[in-house]
Symmetry: C2
Subunit: 284 residues, 2 copies
């Protein structure tokens, strides 16, 4: 299972646009609430995500959808705009949480975070309001409707013979390396974004981009698109504004790192698709 | 070649953040300008995109990148917010334009369009200003930096035996059918979005989602991700708020439509990845 996938959520697309259906969901005695603190998840004693009964009087809850047939809402208590990047506490909580709960938390976090950073209409500057059960914001000023943003990102295992290109950013934990990655820009395909990013960051031209898998990444809301590409040659010209260091790792070195050996490098963390991608590349 | 891919543009990532380099590009006597009218492309007599010498005095030009080694800027004259959806004139122009020019126009259009609809900071409501050579907007009020938005969309050939599921929206030209499609939502993978959309729109459960290809789509700025998926059974339950009609087309019917036969249905237009996807599905 790839991290942040596999939520048991059934998205209630029709209820979003139907105020009466939304009200029925809210009043449903079996309805539950996922209440984030800032952007942090509530965790029960057994490590699972804690859901509490929905309070029908709450007017800040967004309808995530249905979970096991009953409505599930999400709300945030506290300051969702506070810096809440992957805190050590959060990563420890996610490491023991059931995968379906990790995925559900990802949806909730991205949605709450998007609302907290998009309180105004980008078209006219007027304050916007929650719409469509929490899945949009509308502008009372100009009528524009704004939808949650998901940024596509490519992440690629660039191979040359029996080796793969790994790089690290200065902000990462010491020793950590991963596959290169970058945002898909306006006007390019996945395949073009992979080629551009690898050329920009490492000076390497690639061919034969093959899609492997995808993942939503809730920091804040990316769609990670994982690929394997073939390098034309192995000479590196690192863009030091993007990467601190990069090197070609052998299949054995990657296998060892994925198995927990940190002598050559520290593998990408659990839940990161880079880890699944490297596992596919070594043939696991 | 998939529509809107294959631009010869080299994106000048470093020049975007370097005002001196940007000024040098602008003053380069070989620099050229792609000047849109509203969002419509300038077309030369031979059907190619018309580029004119850059006027260094223009202060509204965005740096697209380098084309054949020389800087290329884009600007829009007229109202880019006017409804400029795929007009018949535009589609006729794109039908005869060289593919690399179509792709270049796509980048330019999406970028100009994004600026025209994002003049204000979504975080604080202050008027924002162009930043990073045209590839961002910054907010003088709160300091937020905003990047052009690209929305990932899945489009899928759902197959059952030797047939594929096609649908049509009421707004389309009479007789036109295409693969089902929908926006990837916050917190789901490509594979999850495919399964959810097909279930929501047609009542069909799918397995085995396989990626085929991708395409940027500049109306206004989507990343189209084309897949083939396998339906568990062929009973349809159409969501009439999404689709006007849907049916299972045989491989021969799809081949005929792609060849121009309109007796059963009209195939997706040139440049749409749906057309490439159906061509892959029939084995062409």
């Amino acid at each position: 299972m790839i991290g942040f996938t596999g939520a048991a959520l059934v998205r209630a697309d029709h209820e979003r646009d139907d105020p009466a259906a939304f009200a029925r969901c809210k009043a449903d005695p079996s309805a539950r609430l996922l209440l984030l603190t800032g952007l942090e998840p509530p965790v029960a004693d057994d490590g699972a995500l804690e859901l509490v009964p929905m309070d029908p009087a709450r007017d800040d809850a967004l309808l995530l959808g249905y979970l096991e047939g009953t409505p599930l809402f999400v709300a945030g208590d506290g300051d969702a705009t506070a810096p809440a990047m992957r805190s050590p506490t959060l990563m420890a909580a996610l490491a023991v949480m059931p995968p379906a709960d990790v995925a559900l938390y990802g949806v909730a976090r991205s949605l709450i975070d998007w609302h907290s950073r998009h309180g105004f209409c980008a078209r006219c500057g007027h304050a916007s309001v929650v719409a469509r059960g929490g899945w949009a914001r509308s502008c009372p000023g100009c009528g524009a409707l704004h939808f949650p943003r998901t940024d596509p990102v490519v992440i690629m295992a660039v191979e040359h013979g029996d080796r793969v290109l790994l790089g690290r950013q200065p902000s990462w934990p010491v020793g950590r390396y991963s596959a290169l990655a970058g945002f898909v820009e306006v006007g390019e395909s996945v395949e073009e974004a992979v080629a551009r990013e690898v050329l920009e960051e490492a000076g390497v031209a690639v061919d034969a981009v093959r899609y492997v898998a995808s993942q939503p990444w809730p920091f804040p809301s990316q769609l990670m698109i994982a690929c394997i590409a073939t390098a034309r040659d192995d000479a590196l010209k690192i863009d030091v504004t993007e990467l601190e260091h990069a090197f070609w790792a052998t299949r054995d070195e990657v296998r060892a790192a994925l198995a927990g050996d940190t002598s050559r490098f520290i593998a990408p963390p659990a839940h990161a698709i880079a880890r699944s991608l490297l596992a596919v590349w070594v043939g696991e």
